[in-house]
Symmetry: C2
DNA sequence: TTGAAAGCGCTAACAG
DNA sequence: CTGTTAGCGCTTTCAA
């Protein structure tokens, strides 16, 4: 910076002023140009460490996650976060802790040492979490998860509405007996989607038949089993709502073994919109999309507000934002 | 740090010495303990910016990528990189530029401003690249890509050996007429796998029949078309090697329409090991895995060597590392 | 064995 | 409008 100042024939302060477009200092365009020319001439690049040290603002935000890869589609959370951060001149410092609580603690410490302006904590599955306490030393928001006491701002998908929309889609096609191949783990997604399933039924005055919800592991083989169980009912369903696309794939396999055509003999709707599966199988799967990208965006967006405008933004109790799951219509319904 | 020094009754220098385990300074254990106690007492956390400013080492590495999400499985590159960085006390600064050359330039600049110790440039598809010039101001390595002049260290998958292994697997099962549903784009993966295909055939003294390689778009519908073309040959193949798992999925769809059973009537082998597809379809797909995770690891590993040991590590010409693609045996062959 | 002191490159009062 | 100056929190030389 001194070199630039010297070359431009001004003081280092002036350089700083033009580089930061400081309000007060009314630098004449002529001087500004001279400085900028010197910057280009010398290929000068400001040192963000020094700047951060002085201004205690690094324009960097920490992104802590349990697993980024398991649900490939969920990586879009990271993408949404990164895109929005980037658009605001922020960079993401990434740590993937793999679920170990102590590692998370350390990860946050490393970020704090690097003076991140805020921290995002994202999970791959929608679930309650206990984030490391030190995380709250800076503004923080949770993505796809929440604390039981809702003490931290968070954004999650609307599982209930998603489940309801899926079932309503089936209802609109005239189906009255709708099976549900559900995850046997009572995770928020499973609980919420079941509530949505019941709501949709109730709204159409269809009594709830517990036989129509079959739980299994939320993978292809589980979808296969649940579908087989459903179809061997004395009065089998004419449509199946699958907890996720992997189970839907299993349902496809089962239905094929049963010689049933989709959607003519039976309709199938999934959840997750894992494009690689959903778009490519035959017939293409109608499914509900999880708003991963949007959650990533919203999380960073809100975090940035928290960072730049703490008192105005922070609500009490902290905001718990819910994003809808859009219906992706393809050909299985 | 001054507070810690005061509380421990030593100078700030001493605190720095014990925190950094400095060789020269022989601090008696007694003093050391006192300092450490004070650190804990005050919940002191060093400021990495100040440290970096002084020592010009941030223990942070920049990770630039074109797309992290398109090929979900490729996100494992990021995971491998992050895991290895983490194991060495480094954090990753992430930017996903989406293919815009100017953005890449800026991304690298932002990283350089933040004084990253090195930069990784990773692509989602194996291909030649022209990385921004400023990237070379710090140690750098390329993952899943390379420059035409091989002027930067890089790591890529062994496409030729992968293709060869896939075909040899088919050969070993007794197949002699092996179709190849190939990407119509002559990308390195397509070119390499075709070379491997030919090598395997030649090694078994099977003449190359150009009719047996059908090119199409490397998605499910392309796989469908290529398979149909292959099967309508006067002398159709008994096995199909698909350029990737998406095409294999299309092949499955086609074969089903043709009422051909896999693997009894015809064998199918894929490439990529996209678990979501490969493991869940019926029958589970035998395929070649791309070493994404390993490339991520190797890239960071090598970069760290470059950073910590520049002259010893840097080879001339820069190392071009090739990692094998392991065969994942399932049930389609 | 420990401490004083000089910066690393920058921002931002404060003065002129 | 521009320059002087005092740090931000740390590492590290040099001296004691």
């Amino acid at each position: 910076m001194n070199d630039v100042a010297r070359l431009a024939g001004v003081s280092q302060t002036t350089v700083s002023f033009v580089l930061n477009d400081v309000e007060g200092a009314n630098i004449p365009p002529e001087t500004k140009d001279r400085v900028l020319a010197a910057v280009k001439e010398l290929d000068y690049r400001p040192n963000a460490l020094a700047r951060g040290l002085r201004s205690s603002q690094t324009h960097t935000i920490g992104f802590v996650t349990d697993r980024i890869a398991i649900t490939p589609y969920a990586v879009r959370t990271l993408e949404g976060a990164q895109d929005l951060a980037w658009a605001n001149g922020y960079l993401l410092l990434l740590v993937n802790t793999g679920g170990d609580q102590r590692l998370k603690q350390i990860a946050v410490d490393m970020m704090l040492e690097r003076q991140v302006d805020g921290i995002i904590y994202a999970t791959m599955y929608h679930r309650p979490v206990k984030p490391p306490a030190n995380m709250l030393e800076v503004p923080a928001v949770l993505i796809n998860c929440y604390t039981d006491d809702h003490s931290i701002a968070s954004v999650v998908p609307d599982e209930v509405l998603g489940g309801r929309t899926a079932v309503e889609t089936l209802l609109q096609k005239g189906h009255r007996r709708i099976g549900f191949a559900l995850d046997s783990n009572p995770v928020p997604a499973a609980v919420g989607r079941l509530v949505g399933y019941k709501q949709a039924l109730a709204a159409s005055n269809i009594p709830f038949d517990p036989n129509l919800v079959q739980t299994a592991e939320s993978i292809a083989s589980g979808g296969y089993q649940a579908t087989m169980a459903l179809m061997s009912l004395p009065d089998p369903p004419t449509a199946i709502f699958c907890y996720n696309d992997r189970m839907a794939l299993g349902a496809y396999n089962a239905l094929r073994d049963l010689n049933l055509a989709i959607p003519d003999d039976i309709a199938v709707i999934g959840f997750d919109n894992q494009e690689l599966i959903a778009a490519d199988i035959a017939p293409p799967l109608t499914t509900m999309a999880l708003p991963h990208y949007e959650m990533g965006q919203w999380g960073v967006q809100y975090l940035l507000q928290l960072i730049e405008n703490p008192e105005q933004t922070q609500q009490n109790p902290p905001i718990q934002h819910i994003l809808p799951c859009p219906l992706i219509e393809r050909a299985s319904v």
